[in-house]
Symmetry: C2
Subunit: 130 residues, 2 copies
DNA sequence: CGTCGAGCTTACGTTAACGTAAAGCACTCT
DNA sequence: AGAGTGCTTTACGTTAACGTAAGCTCGACG
């Protein structure tokens, strides 16, 4: 048994992405599938990277950020500095997300207040039931 | 006293936007300043609309959405239906924002967990103090 | 008279992450 | 042979909300 390779379609089904997406990530040098003739074949490593990429996206990382983080690991020497950098990138992102959440909460509160005032206006404008 | 008009620069200073932004909003038919020769002059109504626009932006409304909402009011007949539509648009947006906040919170939690695991890895990799 | 500053118009540039043709190869089935 | 399927490459299109640059006008000021 080789390395348990998958075609592009199998990948799409497995990860719920389009072929375009996989080719795009490849063009952006985030994954490096091998070829059989001209067809792409994805191995376990490719799947691992893709999984990390998709997870990163959920966290709001841009693709370019993910590329850099992945490349840090890929030097074979996942030494302290690399790990530290990744860790710090993640902590920074976490802080960003928390700020974003706080702003969102403020906006929600503000809008909620507006709506309450609006509700009063509504009843004021409402004509007596027919 | 007329209607207490302002130049584009005064508007920019007052609302902390660029001239480009005001001209852009005008091109998109969100505000309609009058002209003195070729210079724009903004009256109280323009300022009111701009204020609503910027508030809407904070709430995450797109400009096109704001245009539609503003136009509802502008028919002179701010009747029940118009108010209702605006009210519902706002409530919908509020729901969206809450969903967005919830997703963000999930992502934050997930990332936090990852980071805790990562912290363990870090200490494992750390070599004894020099 | 020259030019300076403010404002104007027109119009292309930016950014991210793909979507969407268009056209061609490689196999397989019938 | 023809048709169909799956994959490929190349390359332009999309979206929002402006940024930015070029070139013109107009009134004021020294």
């Amino acid at each position: 048994m080789e390395d348990d390779l998958m075609t592009i379609r199998q990948m799409c089904d497995a990860f719920d992405v389009t072929p375009r997406t996989l080719r795009f990530y490849e063009a952006k040098e985030l994954i490096f599938p091998r070829r059989n003739g001209q067809k792409r074949l994805y191995d376990r490593r490719d799947r691992g990277r893709l999984k990390l990429i998709l997870r990163g996206k959920r966290f709001g990382f841009a693709l370019e950020e993910m590329r850099q983080l992945l490349n840090l690991y890929d030097r074979g020497d996942a030494q302290e500095e690399q790990l530290t950098r990744t860790y710090e990138a993640a902590r920074e992102r976490l802080a960003q997300m928390e700020r974003q959440r706080d702003e969102l909460n403020e906006a929600i509160e503000e809008l909620r207040e507006q709506l309450e005032q609006g509700a009063e206006m509504m009843t004021a404008f409402r004509r007596p039931a027919a």
